[in-house]
Symmetry: none
Subunit: 212 residues, 4 copies
């Protein structure tokens, strides 16, 4: 079992379930992202996963349970990718840029992830059951932004006293960036490029001083 080459590798035989569960999570992410928690029906998900609606209950206790599983998976996926990108940068401006690019990458490479993220934000507001189950919105860019601020203060890129302003600005930009996936998956390159230039202070010029 360990050596025989050309053999099915280590996975427990007969574990067809694992594959199915993963397939469900995958399609559920897309469907929840598209229609939101409420309007999505179990049948929507089941159909796309190639099973019956009842079979979902073999894997999850309820629709809510399924949603939460997708949520957790998606969140950790985003978090880890963001952290990965951020970790290689040592300046504030470099790290901001890295995060923006990571967000863009996710939007482009895995629109399902980005869309679900945006949709889930709304659903958390709309459905008390979800809010209750998630409690502390883990991540949501909060921790990430906090780290960023700390770094910027250390490198001097953020003036003392401006921390809150910078944090608020970063949050809005990240939010807008991730929400923008819902509109169009185009022009994202341009967007991030423009944001980088803006942050560097060379996107715009001062208005012509009248009288000079």
């Amino acid at each position: 079992m360990t050596s025989t080459p050309g053999q099915r590798k280590g996975r427990p035989t007969a574990s067809r379930a694992r594959a199915t569960r993963e397939r469900i999570l995958e399609v559920a992410r897309v469907v929840f992202a598209e229609h939101g928690y409420g309007p999505t029906t179990n049948k929507d998900v089941a159909d796309r996963a190639g099973i019956t609606a009842g079979a979902l209950y073999y894997y999850f206790d309820s629709k809510l349970d399924m949603f939460l599983a997708v949520f957790a998976e998606t969140q950790s996926l985003i978090d880890s990718r963001m952290k990965e990108r951020a970790s290689t940068e040592t300046t504030f401006s470099g790290r901001v840029r890295a995060l923006l690019r990571a967000a863009q990458e996710i939007n482009v490479a895995d629109p399902g992830v980005a869309l679900f993220h945006a949709a889930a934000r709304m659903d958390r507001i709309r459905h008390p059951e979800i809010r209750r189950a998630i409690a502390h919105p883990p991540g949501e860019g909060t921790a990430i932004v906090d780290d960023l601020i700390a770094l910027g203060s250390a490198t001097g890129e953020i003036e003392p006293g401006s921390e809150d302003d910078v944090a608020a600005v970063l949050r809005v930009i990240l939010l807008g960036l991730m929400a923008s996936v819902a509109d169009d998956h185009l022009g994202q390159r341009t967007t991030v490029e423009g944001l980088c230039r803006l942050l560097d202070g060379n996107l715009l010029r001062p208005p012509a001083q009248p009288g000079t």
Copy 2:
């Protein structure tokens, strides 16, 4: 009622109706904003309006119809307020600032409007029926942003060739700003202030040049 003579008796027919219709639109905005199109029930709206669910059909042909009425009203309200604020400014940077402040004002003064706006964006994606009915997403900041770009080009504040970058950046920022209302109605002042400073290029400092 106050005895003013010469007042027409029998009061304007359809007057009560108009009032009721407006009350419905008002509460519908709030309820749709909170729960979204799908999860909102006619009864939710009717209860808060002090009528029965059946009575809604005297004013609207369907739930969708009611939603669209709210949408149109809300959209025109936002548009007109934005235009009003923008019209007094003649420089690009002044007008951007005015728009950001207008967005913030709406968020604070009329959270129902802002929330509905954000919610409707999602619902348009989620419900084909809504998308179909709205067709041309009227405005959505598109026309506004286009005007802005034209102005910036004219004043020289936008370098030739950067128009697309600037437009993309502005859209993301506006989007993020309006979406942020869903999270917290706090810190909005700070956010807009920070954004203005960022646009002026004096929110951040360059990283300390190692070796200088």
Copy 3:
């Protein structure tokens, strides 16, 4: 009812609902009695009441709620009829007889009531939801039997010290009598007659004394 002849009596016009609700309770009693709480479906009840399953929810919040309404009505009907019969008798033996006859009367005249009573006893055991909702099994012959014992002690028909025995015996007999309706509605006359004779001590004769 008292004067204006030929006129629709006092009932509030347009109260078609009251009639429907009563029809539902009536048929629900029969269906619950026949199939029990669990196996009875809302459609069973609705069909027999001439409405759709969904319409039940206009009258009751849930299946359980409907069951409880039937239960309360049935219980109070039984209680009041029993009390009525018992109230005219002043001796223990007379009152026992009256109760037995009342039980028989119910069994014969309104088998639905008797059957439901028996069925509900089981359902209370089987379904925690029901048990929870009923808490104090109101009546169940308990109060009635207690009153009876008190009377018998007062008249001297029950020997001091035998109260518990008599109470237990009466409970078993009442229970058996009401449960017997499930088997056959026949021979009930005979049953009650026999029970009366037994209580009087002249149903059976002592065994022939061997050696006398």
Copy 4:
């Protein structure tokens, strides 16, 4: 396995199966008794038997089949115990007493059996499938009571002409006794004692004759 020589190796095939089957019947009796036929799920039974729901189908063709097996076993168990107790008594009154005590014994020693018996009576009424399969309610005290009447007539303890009354009374009492197990397993001793005294005619006294 213990090396006892001469023991047949390879142990009797189907031995494990027999044990499992018996375990299933045992737990099924309890579960059916508690919840009734309809509400009991195969999983309820399987879980308590330590197997999966699917495995039940190795032993029984269907849920109904399993129920019937439990029914038959339980019925024969009750019948044989009753007959055993009755066979040692030669007078009517002695045999009645023996039967009552046997019923009480079952209630106390094996509440599962008694409860199932009572539950099955209801289920037979409720589920046509069960009624159809059992057809002739074998026993149910009918044969037993008939024998008893014959004996009483022979010993003279039952007056000619009273046979039907006595039979009806006995059936109600036995029914009440077995049904009472559902309520409380307490006070059963008292109940049987009281019934014996009642049958002997010395539980109650005549009402004080007014005027004597």
